[in-house]
Amino acid sequence: MKRALVTGATHGLGRTMVALLIERGYAVVAVDRVAAAGRNGVTDFVCDLADRDAVDRMLPRLIGTGPFDLVVFNAGVSATGRFEEVPAEAYRRLLTVNAETPMVMAAALMRAGAARGAMCFVSSLSHFTGYPGAAAYAASKDALAIYAISVRKPFARRGVSVTLACPGPLRTEHAARHAPDGADENLRLEPATAARLILDAALTGRRLVVPGRNARLFALAGRIRPQAVTRWMRRLVFERLGRAVW
């Protein structure tokens, strides 16, 4: 039986990925701060991925449940608002969960030989633009994206393909919590669609997946006119944000 590891597996995109993987016959190891109740075929690891000691304590046990044919680093949190208004502790947590922990886990899994097959890092569409109103989030997702690009060849030499996923806004609780006032929910992609596209890309070893047509158009615009798109993001996001949310 094939085995998959998914972080941030209880809500949103991660939850949908777990469901899809079970449908496809995978045994899934799920890591999250809270376990989801009643999922057959899922082994839950409850861990606060912002807590270095907790991550270090979990890793040997996690490696023991491998090796994994697919690893998806999906866990992420956000912080939106004026950069200077969000507390420093929230930024520390955000950077640890979004950037540091997936890198630490990836290196540990590779060193232990517990990853074989495919690995996927879930970054963000923000990688293709500036993101005023979520500067620390943007920093964490850029860091993760470039880590994925950097390790692609060295990990391939050890038989593991690396896929960078950059999803745009999804119809999840997470997105709703951080969206600016008056954002159009209909523009957000269904998590199930994003999950399918990302898993298919990861399992076929593609380098990059930007799920959804709107997201791909946006990424293209961001590549061609980075500053114009960043200004547009200011009007679209930053100037419409209410109080800071983290």
Binding site: R52, D56, R82, F83, E84, A88, Y91, R92, L95, A99, E100, M103, V104, A106, A107, A108, M110, R111, S126, H127, T129, G130, Y131, P132, G133, A134, A135, A136, A138, A139, S140, K141, D142, A143, L144, A145, I146, Y147, I149, S150, V151, R152, K153, P154, F155, R158, P226, Q227, T230, R231, M233, R234, F238
Partner: protein
């Protein structure tokens, strides 16, 4: 090609802006060696300086420009580094800051599949998390002086197999800078400069031997000159890759 030339002169005349003057209060992190020290030396005649490094003051005093204030701030402990810098600013009585150059950085070379967690964390702490938290802490002072924040990234920010976490940390700085440049527009000018390979002690510290290629690296003085120029430019992002520094040399000491 013909199009880009006039655009550049325009940007340069526009900047001429305020190159740092004697009344300016300037913070440079990681200023005890390499590019940071070269920058400190360039500005020491023209501005009041607060420099930081990870070593205690008596170990570095002899290399620093005379008259510069110093704070020991080891960025591998980001929160402690923020506190040390804020304490030093308070001690100097600087309630505003005209220029902050966040230059401190560290990195290690190696196979990312073998990278120990402690190294990965130290790299992200020093290069990204500390710089982000320092930027946040400096905001009130920068805003009150309508100052300028310059982040020193790296051309490795686009990805590097031999120093993956370093590349990631510098990409993170890039993401921070392009968001902040827009967010703080009209309040604090934000710039990020990405230096290419520079002949500093960093390569040896990182366990990297560039071999004969090292002869092509930019001298720190040249890189510092180009960074100073980029800091005054109208563009938020400047890449100082090989083609930008290969034919230039900073003028000798004045």
């Amino acid at each position: 090609m013909t199009k880009s030339a006039p655009a550049r002169t325009e940007a340069q005349t526009e900047i001429g802006p305020r190159s740092p003057g004697m009344t300016d209060r300037v913070l440079i992190t990681g200023a005890t060696s390499g590019i940071g020290l070269a920058l400190a030396n360039r500005l020491s005649q023209r501005a009041r300086l607060l420099l930081t490094g990870r070593r205690p003051e008596d170990a570095v005093r002899s290399v620093l420009p005379a008259g510069a204030a110093y704070a020991c701030a080891d960025q591998t402990s980001p929160e402690a580094a923020v506190a040390a810098i804020e304490a030093a600013l308070a001690r100097l009585g600087w309630d505003g800051l005209d220029l902050a150059v966040l230059n401190a950085g560290t990195g290690f070379v190696g196979d990312p599949a073998d990278e120990p967690a402690a190294r990965l964390r130290a790299t992200l702490d020093a290069n990204l998390i500390a710089a982000l938290l320092i930027s946040r802490a400096l905001y009130p002072r920068l805003a009150s002086a309508r100052g300028r924040l310059v982040l020193v990234g790296s051309t490795a920010r686009r990805g590097a197999a031999d120093f993956a976490s370093y590349a990631a940390s510098k990409a993170g700085l890039h993401g921070l800078a392009r968001a902040l440049a827009e967010e703080w527009r009209g309040r604090v000018e934000v710039r990020i400069v990405h230096p290419g390979p520079t002949a500093t002690a960093m390569h040896a510290k990182a366990g990297h031997d560039p071999g004969r290629l090292g002869r092509l690296f930019a001298p720190p003085d040249t890189m510092a000159m180009l960074i100073e120029r980029a800091a005054g430019s109208a563009r938020p992002v400047t890449n100082l890759s090989f083609s930008r520094f290969a034919w230039r040399r900073a003028p000798g000491p004045r």
